[in-house]
Amino acid sequence: MTDLRAIVRTLRWRIAAALVVACLLAVGGWVFAQDKPAAPAAPAAPAAAPAPPPSKPDPAGTATGGIGDVTAKTAGKPTLEEVADFAGHNRVSINVMWTLLTGFLVMFMQAGFALVETGFTRAKNVAHTMMMNFMIYAIGMTGYWIMGFALQMGGLGTISTMGGTGLLDSEFTISLFGKDFGLFGMKGFFLAGSTYDVAVFALFLFQMVFMDTAATIPTGAMAERWKFSSFVVFGFFLSMFTYPIFANWVWGGGWLSQLGKNFGLGHGHVDFAGSSVVHMVGGVTALAGAMVLGPRIGKYNKDGSANPIPGHNIPMGVLGCFILAFGWFGFNPGSTLAGGDLRISVIAVNTMLASASGAIFAMFYMWGKYGKPDPSMMVNGMLAGLVAITAPCGFVSSFWAFVIGAVSGVLVCWAAVFIETVMRVDDPVGAIAVHGVNGAWGVLSLGLFADGTYGDGFNGVEGTVRGLFYGGASQFAAQIIGTITCFAFIFSASWVFFKAYDVVFGMRVSPEVEMEGLDVPEMGAHGYPEIQGPATLVHAMGGSTPKPPAMAMAPERSR
């Protein structure tokens, strides 16, 4: 008896909780039993008269939604005009919904980047690497809202898939060879005034997360030695200047997009979802930054040979890659800015096929050349496939999508080793090889393999988009011009920025900080306090012992 009482006393909360749960289940079960599902309703007859409001539940869903749901002055009897109005509103609604939802997916790619970059760097720098990836989201967004969006999209003209209100109508242009060269937009600063508009806001969200993708790429190549303060300034620089200006040239109605209209070069520089605008910009910025910053201590020996510095958490990197691959279903199919453009199914399939072939060919390349299929390179291979298919995803067949990914899988392994051992640029996560090199390959591959099944009227040029192998030599020329322009503009602007900042303020942490790990000196906190020696020692020796939680010190009850 005493035993039973002791058990009841120690477990009384659990017993009470179990009783409550049991009561809830009993009540719920009774309610559910009363609520028998109705027989599936017959599909609504093509109603001449307005259907009466359904009084029965519709578990099959065939009777829900009909003529009575069309907004009309006389309910159930819409005029043709009212039906057309409704159809137009629905079309734009679907497109805005699609743009927003895919934008949300792209936003989540920030998490993928954070995990890949942190997993492929060392444990002593995790808080620093993670927080660069975290804060770029906030910093980039702020800079883009202040002026980046206005420079990029201020002269776009009509957003045709989202209602065509044409509020973004101010592009700064210069005249060369008798043609207008759009250089940057001038409307939409702070999203204020006449750009306070649903279509513009949807476009802002989508373009903002794209810009943030580019902005978070250099943090990987420059990880483990970059001063956090310098990174913060860079975040504003990229989101307010370099990215928006190049993006304006390609997506905002600027001069690269008009090469077709003005000079007969295909459809101008075509980049469906941003192999050049997003990835190559990020990768080339990463190259300039990593060159100015220099390699990590211990990366290169005196004779110039490179030492591998293994990342601390491969599972983290692989999870990040999967999150990125998932987010890419927003990145590429979302770039139609139209859920009603059913090409999205082709785009989505092309995207996943290229990611598969990228990973497979990276695996075989590393296996064949170095004896083992390197995990981090297989991850890079999948990402390279995704980067490369980003520009051509809307314009190629599934066969070419697979080939484009396969080439990028090999290209990324070769480029990563080339950048490390020949160029002697230290890129801990392979960002330059993945995004820079394969971004270039992506836009060029569009100029080779676009098969002429899509893109009628793209960039204001009649006819579909055709690459070199489908009779579109001038399209390939436009892609080459776009690629060279991207490299030249982004590299020089970024290099000058980094160099100037380095000379004036210094970009790099001191060697002591780098050896100790950036977490405590730069961020004030270890990423993994329990396994990072110095902090543990400090605690143990009473340096900064935190107060133990009260519970731990309280004597055990009821004994």
Binding site: N307, P308, K369, K372, D374, M377, A416, E420, G430
Partner: protein
């Protein structure tokens, strides 16, 4: 009393522990350590580059036993930890001056 210190391959820890507990040894201390002997280190690959790992992970077991048991324990450890390949580890034995059980204050053999 003798203090026996065995450095073994990590995956042999369970075998050794079971051999010892089966023979009535009731306590031991285990530490993850790194080191090398004749085995030297080994090379690994990362992103196409080769690097050497000099200090290999090993397990160190420390056991204190009365003098009479020492030979038996050494035999058990050697048998359980052996794979026959290089890198199986070593056993070191040293005399121990004193042992105290903190809870009761017992000294010597009765404390281990």
């Amino acid at each position: 009393m003798k203090k026996i210190e065995a450095i073994i391959k990590p995956f042999k820890l369970d075998d050794v522990k079971e051999a010892l507990t089966g023979a009535g040894i009731i306590g031991m201390t285990v530490t993850e350590v790194r080191g090398f002997g004749r085995q030297k280190g080994h090379t690994e690959m990362y992103r196409g580059g080769e690097y050497t790992v000099d200090f290999l992970p090993k397990m160190k077991i420390e056991i204190v036993v009365p003098d009479g048991l020492a030979d038996k324990v050494i035999g058990l450890i050697t048998a359980a930890a052996r794979t026959g390949s290089i890198g199986d580890g070593k056993v070191f034995v040293e005399p121990l001056e004193e042992a105290v059980r903190i809870r009761t204050g017992e000294h010597g053999d009765s404390a281990v």
